[in-house]
């Protein structure tokens, strides 16, 4: 008797996003997914598709992790110091392996590139929200007199956008101390 789906779709996504986060999209086959989720391959094939599960995993990630985290960042009041704290939290999460495997969006960019339009739209959205959040904090930092050149806010935000990508690699070879220094020095470039 093939097993049928006995949990809600939301519960399914909660489980499946962790698997994708850990293994990537291509790193797990329908067969393995079916056994890890305890759902028959037939149901996975006919009722859902691997792609649909993956896209909803990305939605789950933005709704549950990145959006609340970035909302918090935008509400901070200490400018560059708040940015530093934000990146420190990110480093702690990476080092302590709070999450299955670094940042799901960064992993997705590296793994899937431009191969799937729907996926591209998802990470573009994510990167836009990230950059906008940096701009909000940089404007506060400028008002606090933490740097001089207001016309450079957009360029600084682009530069900061790179940090999640570089740190997602560097945490594999740096100690926590080295990563914190890296962040502090990056922020000194904002003048």
């Amino acid at each position: 008797m093939p097993k049928v789906l006995n949990s809600s779709y939301d519960e399914l996504i909660e489980k499946v996003q962790e698997i994708f986060w850990l293994k990537g999209f291509k790193g797990i086959s329908i067969k393995e997914l079916s056994s890890e989720l305890d759902i028959s391959q037939n149901v996975l094939y006919n009722k859902y598709s691997k792609e649909m599960l993956f896209l909803d995993s990305l939605n789950y990630y933005t709704n549950n992790y990145s959006d609340p985290f970035l909302k918090q960042l935008r509400e901070t009041t200490e400018g560059l110091n708040s940015l530093k704290e934000f990146f420190y939290t990110l480093i702690d999460a990476l080092i302590n392996k709070t999450f299955p495997r670094s940042c799901l969006m960064v992993n997705t960019v590296v793994e899937l590139r431009n191969e799937n339009t729907d996926v591209v739209l998802k990470y573009d959205d994510y990167l836009t929200t990230l950059k906008d959040s940096y701009i909000v904090v940089l404007e506060k930092a400028y008002k606090l007199g933490q740097f001089k050149n207001k016309t450079k806010i957009n360029e600084y935000a682009d530069f900061l956008l790179g940090i999640i990508f570089s740190v997602s690699i560097l945490y594999k070879i740096y100690t926590k101390e080295e990563l914190r220094n890296y962040i502090e020095e990056q922020l000194t470039f904002i003048q």
């Binding site: 431009n114 990470y123 530069f159 020095e185």
Partner: protein, 199 residues
Amino acid sequence: MFRNFTLMRYKEYNRDAVLEKAIRLFWQKGFNGCSINEIVKATGVNRFSLYHEFGNKEGILYASLELYRERYSKNKLDILKTSDGGLHETFIQFYTAFLENSHPMAGCYFIHVGTELADVDEQIRKSLSNYLNEIQLQIQDLLIRNNIDEKSKIYAKHFLGLFCTVMSFCLIHSPTEYREYVANGINIILPSYAESIKQ
């Protein structure tokens, strides 16, 4: 004697050809995304011979990283050593060497494999670390050659950071966006230098 020599040469050629195919396969599908059967199919070498030569699937991956370093990343890293253009131009040349028209694919195989496996495979973590350290040292040498002695180590670290960032960005940005991003990064890390070349 002669016959042995020819055999050896033949085998070496074969080995590299196998690894070439493995690089492309791992790069496109990820290490965990392809089975040994797919490697057999792509390389045309049977499982027994593959295991005899490389030990296991990981052995193929490790050897493929070595080949990549020798065959594809060495000449890109050499730009830092040999370019006789200005500092800004050398950096642009170096970072864009990993763009889409680069061989065998856009980006860097070490970063790609490291992203997937450095957390779970100590040997991969070490070779990623050696690779990135080498890049940082060469950047530092380049900075010193351009009379940036003070803080050259710190600057080199951040140019390495920029390298890590743009190895992901080059996968999703157009060449123009990519160049702009790289130039922006260089100007922010070395603003005094950016101003001096504008004059």
